[in-house]
Amino acid sequence: MMEFVVTYRPLFDLICIYSILALSQYVALRAGLFSLATPGFASVGGYAGAILLKDTALGPVLSALGAILCGVAVGLFLSLPLAKLRGAFQSIATIGFVQIMVSLTLFAQPLTGGALGLNAIPKVATTGLLVAVVIALTALLAVINRSGIGRAFDAIRQDYTVAMSLGISVSRYFRYAFALSGAIGALGGCLLAYDTYSIQPDVFGFPMLVLIIAAVILGGRAIVAGPLVGTAFLIVLPEFIRPLADERLLLQGLLLIVVIIYLPQGIVDSLTQRWKLRRALTARSGEQRARAHGLPSA
């Protein structure tokens, strides 16, 4: 048992970190944003957190807070043009943002170390801390989902025009979603830096974008457990079926296409919906049986 834990601990840490990043993506998708900016936020948070921790005396907690603030600032900055726009424009601009972060971190060599990246970052993230952060974020998002903000997000995601006619300020909620997604994404990037000793610009590039979006699409976009299930599935599967590891990218691409066509709501949302439907059906058939037996209905 101990051996198992020691062997798979890095893998488990990775699942936790990518779950946080997937939650950042989930917040955006849940609000009906077509944003794919999470790797960019993670880059901002990773570099900000690592630089603050290494070069200042702030300590890990304040450094992480600084990283989150940077993420919020960048999220709000992106929302300036993008909260007023919809659909394809948001995707175009956020994919561009991710690529620009890669080339900016490559360019700003004195600050970011260029292609070699930042190394010898103190490992301050423990597995316990990562698990605690995932649980806290999941709880926070579950609370937000049940609040007025969550209901507004639902309305906007399902029908933009209806949401407007209900008096929901779509651009304001888009701004909230960008800020929240930026904060969580930056935290995820920061913890990635604190867990893996070193970060390079291309860590936060297109492969990360694909993994995160695949995790959220596979898991589901409505219930908060969806991204967690999707991330765990995508990271664990190639580890246990070795031949798949070499074809990881091919597999992710195929999975994205097949899932979005045949299971567009993802695993968790589809299962929950089926379960609810079955419960409603059994309740109704119970009622009918009662009526057939001549019981007076009140």
Partner: protein, 295 residues
């Protein structure tokens, strides 16, 4: 010196325009943002390269093979990805996600086929010849590129506005249901527009592959970034806008590379995208309501 850089920029920009035309055409007609367009472009360059090296074809034949091949790759995307998605009532976000997946598959296949190496066309594949023109050096290659792009763009406009298939395509772009009632087969129109978009991307791929003498599986990504700015600046769905803003972006990029720095030119171009989205998201060459039309 400045004029020389501008000429170089116009040539590069013309190729960007060629690439962006396919992207903006498919978006304008079918509301599909095909993020795998860069991979189609890259496959065009690969087909051209292998036609020259393995197939020992002359350059013009390799060019035609690459253009047709990229067209078929694009049609395969429509048949295997976008059509099943439409049949299952996929939304706009679904098409974006699916095209990301398709991009990944196409790039991974190319990476495995080439062991992630950068390939170079054989030396002297294109005659090296320079003209002196008003004190500037213009290569034969640049002249041929500009001429080819001009011919392709005029051909595209003629197709869209002077043929019956072109007007059927525009009818589907305006309203698919109405077009069906009028006897237009939308499935055929989808195939046609994807084929044309793929051919445009393939042509751009071979031209850039020869001009920069570098063909690799990641070459699509950088061009996609430029194309994003081009289609937003020109107005999503606008043919004329794509051509003009493609040339503009090419000039801006060449100038920043020449006078500021190579690494920053991406950031400058992206800053432009940000400003355009802030100031005039419908683009500068399209009317207010023409966003989802073609031309």
């Amino acid at each position: 010196m400045l004029a020389q850089q501008l000429i170089n920029g116009v040539v590069v920009g013309a190729v960007y325009a060629l690439f962006s035309l396919g992207l903006t055409l498919v978006f304008g007609m079918h509301r599909i943002l095909n993020l795998a367009h860069g991979a189609v472009f890259m496959w065009g360059a690969f087909i051209g390269y292998f036609a020259v090296t393995l197939g020992r074809l002359p350059l013009w034949a390799a060019f035609i093979a690459a253009v047709l091949g990229a067209g078929f790759v694009s049609v395969a995307l429509e048949l295997c990805v976008f059509r099943p998605l439409r049949r299952h009532q996929g939304d706009e976000f679904g098409t974006i996600v699916a095209s990301i997946g398709a991009n990944l598959i196409l790039m991974d296949l190319a990476q495995q086929a080439t062991n992630a190496q950068t390939l170079r066309f054989p030396f002297g594949i294109f005659p090296i010849l320079f003209f002196n023109f008003l004190g500037m050096r213009v290569s034969l290659q640049q002249v041929v590129i500009l001429a080819a792009v001009a011919i392709i763009v005029v051909g595209l406009l003629l197709f869209l506005f002077r043929t019956s298939l072109g007007s059927e395509a525009r009818a589907v772009a305006v309203n698919e249901q109405t077009a069906m009632l009028l006897g237009v087969n939308p499935g055929l129109v989808y195939l046609t527009s994807f084929f044309i978009a793929g051919m445009l991307a393939g042509a751009a791929g071979v031209i850039l592959g020869i001009a920069f003498n570098s063909v690799s599986y990641v070459m699509g990504e950088a061009v996609m970034l430029q194309a994003f700015v081009v289609i937003v600046l020109g107005g999503l769905g606008s043919v004329v806008g794509a051509v003009l803003s493609g040339i503009l972006i090419g000039m801006i990029q060449t100038l920043t590379t020449a006078y500021i720095s190579t690494e920053l030119s991406d950031a400058v171009v992206f800053g432009l995208l940000f400003i355009v989205l802030l100031v005039r998201p419908s683009g500068f060459f399209a009317g207010v309501h023409t966003e989802h039309r073609v031309a």
